[in-house]
């Protein structure tokens, strides 16, 4: 075997979920005390345990809701299908919520996992180069301005129950089948305020405006989200929402040119 073949063989042995490969002893040395299969088993166990630990550290509340045994079963199946694609290990969970959806996990668990993933992304996001201040607004050009948001800001739509589950960190034995009145999904913003990650459930009009702004629409277009037909009310509401974005330090810059 050449180097590439040896590495492929090692990787298959170390990541296989179906036990030792044939011919291990022809490729690796063993001893009476520890066979080649036993030795590769150390790497195989380490591979799965390490990735499962990484999932557990990111999705701790999802794990609490699912229970340890179910989380381990789903986590191991997930990492077998979705090996890490990022040099930082915690990023292995990039598709975990989608995976949970694909295996018909309870929808609120899918949403909780998506929320925890968004919180990780907010936690590790690069710092903004700048925080836009209200006094940087150019009143005459403001309607044509486009907003650039800080990189920690994450937006997702989810079952509000997922927010409750996240907040209920001490509660165990959660009955995912418990009856409750169905609530419509809500827009949630997740961001980092200095070192802490925060989240906020947004009203429908603010959620709509935020999506328009993130898509780099001009502010005049963004403010159509507040259009109720009453100019006074609309302006007051738009002012209130935009003030909130400034106050939460969500804005990296106010851009007056398309570039």
């Amino acid at each position: 075997m050449n180097l590439a073949e040896l590495q492929q063989y090692f990787a298959r042995a170390a990541t296989s979920g179906i036990g030792p490969l044939p011919d291990l002893a022809r490729v690796f040395l063993g001893t009476p005390r520890l066979s080649a299969a036993d030795r590769l088993g150390i790497y195989n166990r380490g591979y799965y345990l390490r990735l499962l630990e990484a999932l557990s550290s990111v999705f701790s509340q999802t794990q609490r809701v699912l229970g340890d045994a179910e989380f381990e079963r789903l986590g191991l199946a997930y990492v077998a299908q979705h090996p890490s694609e990022h040099p930082a290990i915690e990023r292995v969970g990039r598709s975990f919520s989608e995976y949970l959806r694909s295996v018909a996990a309870p929808p609120v668990v899918v949403d909780l996992a998506a929320l925890e993933w968004a919180r990780l992304c907010a936690l590790v996001a690069a710092n903004p180069e700048n925080i836009a201040q209200v006094d940087s607004i150019e009143p005459q050009r403001f309607p044509e301005a486009r907003l650039r948001f800080v990189r920690s800001l994450q937006c997702l739509e989810l079952d509000p129950w997922a927010l409750t589950l996240l907040a209920d960190a001490d509660r165990s034995n959660i009955d995912l089948g418990e009856s409750r009145s169905a609530l419509p999904h809500c827009g949630v913003a997740v961001w980092r305020a200095r070192h802490a990650v925060e989240h906020l459930s947004l009203g429908a009009e603010e959620w709509h405006a935020l999506r328009l702004a993130i898509a780099r629409n001009e502010l005049s277009r963004v403010c159509t989200a507040f259009d109720t037909g009453s100019a006074d009310t609309d302006v007051r509401r738009a002012f209130q929402v935009l003030s909130g974005w400034f106050a939460r330090n969500w804005l990296e810059s106010i851009d007056y040119d398309e570039t």
Binding site: L6, F28, Y43, A88, A126
Partner: protein
């Protein structure tokens, strides 16, 4: 382009403690210690940061690094470069690493002499290489690429291992020495890894140390391991054991008082426990420096 340089120097400055100077001992930054570090600072001569925990990141990790950097130099230590892997070296990874090293004026940049990628995926493990001529040429070429990209010498750490390839034609110490010499790289000598591999494969740790080119050894790692009964496991989960301290004393005689890091990952104790380990390493290192001074011309 392949740079050649005085092995006593990194391309960005001196890496070895010079005779007459004080010992240089530190420990690795770990998340559970961040609050203590942000509050009290770090009592060490330098600190080691896992590169991937800080590359492209902001928030608390960024602030911790800035706080530590204000007090002591920082050595960057990577785990995902996969210098021996067959996948192409990641340009985005190298770009982020170069930017981080520049931003914090890193004291040194190191990673492991192993492979950890397969088919575009990351193993997040330090898989051993076969010690063949083909692997040697492959690794040397990639180390040179990385050094050219970073504009500085790379330090390579020997890994602990649990298995050997039948295809190997060199001993581990021959392979490590040849890579460092041919690629003009430095060595980060992990004494716990030498000890663990020596026990698992039945070779002499002392033979390993004596075979290394002394001028290439530019940093040392100290750590603990566990004994499973069938093999030694490199878990960094306990104090540095006496056997590793003895190897450290031998290494100080062979390589001089090189900068030394105490590592601890599993069952992490209070910061004060790491400071106590570092203090002991500093005492041994300073004693060696006293010997060096007495023998200086």
């Amino acid at each position: 382009m392949h740079r050649t340089a005085d092995p006593q120097q990194t391309l960005s400055g001196p890496a070895r403690t010079q005779p007459g100077a004080l010992a240089c001992v530190g420990f690795g930054l770990r998340v559970p210690h961040y609050d203590a570090i942000l509050t009290h600072g770090l009592r060490a001569d330098f600190a080691e940061a896992i590169s991937e925990n800080f590359m492209g990141r902001g928030g608390r990790a960024f602030d911790v690094l800035e706080r530590v950097r204000a007090d002591v130099p920082i050595a960057l230590h990577g785990v995902s470069l996969s210098i021996g892997g067959m996948d192409l070296l990641s340009e985005s990874y190298l770009s982020e690493l170069a930017e981080l090293a520049r931003r914090i004026a890193a004291f040194s940049v190191s990673d492991h002499l192993c492979f950890g990628t397969f088919g575009g995926h990351y193993a997040h493990d330090l898989w051993p290489l076969p010690y063949t001529e083909e692997a040697l040429a492959h690794v040397v070429s990639r180390v040179q690429q990385v050094q050219d990209r970073l504009g500085r010498r790379l330090l390579l750490e020997n890994v602990s291992s649990y298995v050997e390839y039948r295809a190997s034609v060199l001993t581990e110490w021959e392979f490590v020495s040849e890579v460092a010499t041919r690629a003009d790289a430095g060595l980060l000598l992990d004494l716990n890894n030498v000890f663990v591999s020596a026990a698992n494969h039945g070779f002499s740790a002392e033979t390993y140390l004596r075979a290394l080119p002394p001028a290439r050894v530019q940093q040392i790692h100290l750590a603990g391991h566990s004994d499973t009964g069938s093999y030694l496991f490199d878990d960094h989960g306990s104090a540095v054991p006496d056997a590793i301290w003895r190897l450290y004393e031998q290494s100080l005689e062979l390589f001089g008082a090189v900068p030394t890091i105490v590592e601890w990952d599993e069952r992490l104790p209070e910061l004060s426990a790491l400071e106590a380990e570092a203090t002991h390493a500093r005492q041994l290192s300073n004693a060696q420096l006293g010997v060096q001074r007495r023998h200086a011309p």
